[in-house]
């Protein structure tokens, strides 16, 4: 069974007061997320990531299309028992202590009363806030709030966890901690769907990713497959005869006696022959490692997709 199934989901906003115009925030999104995977939902600001999450959480209503979670339509209240959600830049009831907050959310998720307190403490320990359990949230730093946010998203032991920009605004240590936590959740068998524009996090964590731009899906798949689109190139390093590859028309960088350039895969044989022929000595011929960033930039450059409002 799919964890999440989205079919032709669309959301259009009415903007303007007197002369209303329509702005499409999400266009015919079709997507499937498998159970047990870490799925990265990538896109620049305003791509429609938060809109998608709000539609899945039932905070907004789609203009068209359908979506289901664990086989049930998103409008079914039962779905909410199986999901946890961390909104972007979360803000919580700051008059509550961390423990009170978690106990409150546990009660809203129908966690039995006798389990709430122990579960809240366990979750706080897990996200490293065990020592701040009785501190009011108004005294929390941004990183602590983010961790409390993750704790509230998993307090009821959901099967799927939705995280909207979970690393946003965190320092490198905080990001690392959140990344480890996402991996741990996945190791426990939970499906994790998280939106981000920090590509290195997605590349490290995700089994599959989808790239969204201006409300339109640009691509979805296993990270390695997507990267294959951006590779097909090799880096050549040779010594002496620095002009040997001038005929290929590539830009050559020369440091001392060493020359370096990047060529297409199909030019590899010709390049080896040319270097030998010119009296140079080949030192290295390595495939270029593709980066998610290349794929992302290729699919999210200005002008790609139609104009949309913000997320």
């Amino acid at each position: 069974m799919s964890a999440i199934e989205i079919s032709n989901l669309a959301k259009t906003y009415q903007v303007g007061f007197f002369r209303k115009t329509e702005k499409a925030a999400l266009k015919n999104l079709t997507l499937e997320v498998h159970e047990g995977e870490i799925f990265g939902y990538l896109g620049p600001n305003g791509a429609g990531k938060t809109t998608t999450l709000k539609l899945l959480m039932g905070l907004m209503f789609p203009t068209a299309g359908t979506a289901s979670i664990l086989g049930r339509p998103i409008s079914d209240p039962q779905v909410k028992r199986s999901i946890g959600f961390l909104p972007e830049q979360p803000y919580f009831y700051d008059y509550l202590t961390a423990r009170e907050l978690l106990e409150y959310y546990a009660s809203l998720s129908d966690v039995p009363a006798k389990e709430r307190s122990s579960r809240a403490q366990r979750m706080l320990d897990r996200v490293g806030l065990g020592g701040a359990a009785n501190t009011q949230l108004r005294k929390f730093s941004k990183g602590m709030l983010q961790r409390a946010g993750i704790a509230q998203a998993i307090i009821h032991d959901p099967k799927i966890v939705f995280l909207d920009e979970p690393m946003s605004g965190l320092d490198p240590i905080g990001r690392r901690e959140v990344r480890d936590l996402i991996q741990e959740l996945n190791d426990e068998g939970k499906t994790v769907f998280f939106s981000t524009h920090i590509l290195s996090d997605a590349e490290t964590l995700c089994d599959r990713v989808a790239v969204l731009n201006r409300g339109e899906l640009q691509g979805v798949g296993v990270v390695a497959d997507l990267l294959a689109e951006t590779v097909g190139k090799r880096e050549v390093i040779w010594e002496g005869a620095s002009t040997a590859l001038d005929a290929l028309g590539t830009k050559v960088k020369i440091v001392g006696d060493i020359a370096r350039t990047v060529i297409d895969d199909r030019q590899a044989d010709a390049a080896i022959d040319a270097i030998r022929h010119a009296g140079g000595r080949l030192k290295s011929l390595m495939p270029v490692q593709g980066a998610l960033e290349d794929y992302f930039l290729k699919h999210t450059e200005p002008g790609a997709g139609a104009e949309v409002k913000s997320e």
Binding site: L59, F85, L86, F92, Q152
Partner: protein, 259 residues
Amino acid sequence: MTTSRIGHIAYNTFREAVRDRVLYNLIFFALLLLASTPLFGKISIGLERIVLVNLGLTAVTIFGMLISIFIGIGLVSKEIDKKTLYTVLSRPVRRWEFILGKYFGLGLTLLVNTFFMAVGFLAALLYIAHGFQRSDVQLLGALYFIMLQFMVIIAITLLFSSFSSPMLSALFAFGYFVIGNFAEELRGAANLLDGVSRAIVLGISYLVPNFTAMNVISQVAHSEGITGALLLQNSLYAIFYSAAALSAAILIFENRDLK
């Protein structure tokens, strides 16, 4: 379970109000006013009790109304602005449960608040009159009617805040409260008009809550009794009016996109 979720939301709303400094400021001023009522009584020789009851119960009404409106307008909008609502509605909480939880939470806040103000008022009365009369039981009836007014105005504030900004909601709700206190006068005025203007004024007088019937302050100040029929009539009226306003608030909120 639905009732338990409504209860948890109500308790959290109550907890928020209790931990809010604004509430204490208002209660402080209300108690200060109550404490000063014996002074007003001394100015009007022979009318101490009447002045005290009038001033005291009016203070309870006005301060309670201010708390209802100023906390009420933020009940929904603050949760949307701060996105706290997102983490609530992404759980098995239905939107109508959230609205009802908020309603009962603020209702509980007002009940506790009215209780303390009533204790202050009765203490002031005891200080002036050196004892209670049998007819003072009527004061409890007046306080009950004041509480009914709060429950109606909270429902109205929730209705306005389900679709408009906090500032507009406060203006609308306050306007409703003021006009509601002249509902019967409006009905009388409508009878002097004719045609469309009569229909409009009459329509408004029935649309706004009839707080005139719930205001028995002057009556109990003169030790006049409250009939059982009035108790029943006002109770039913407050229940139905609040239910109608809450239903409209839920209907609007159920279909609202939380941007």
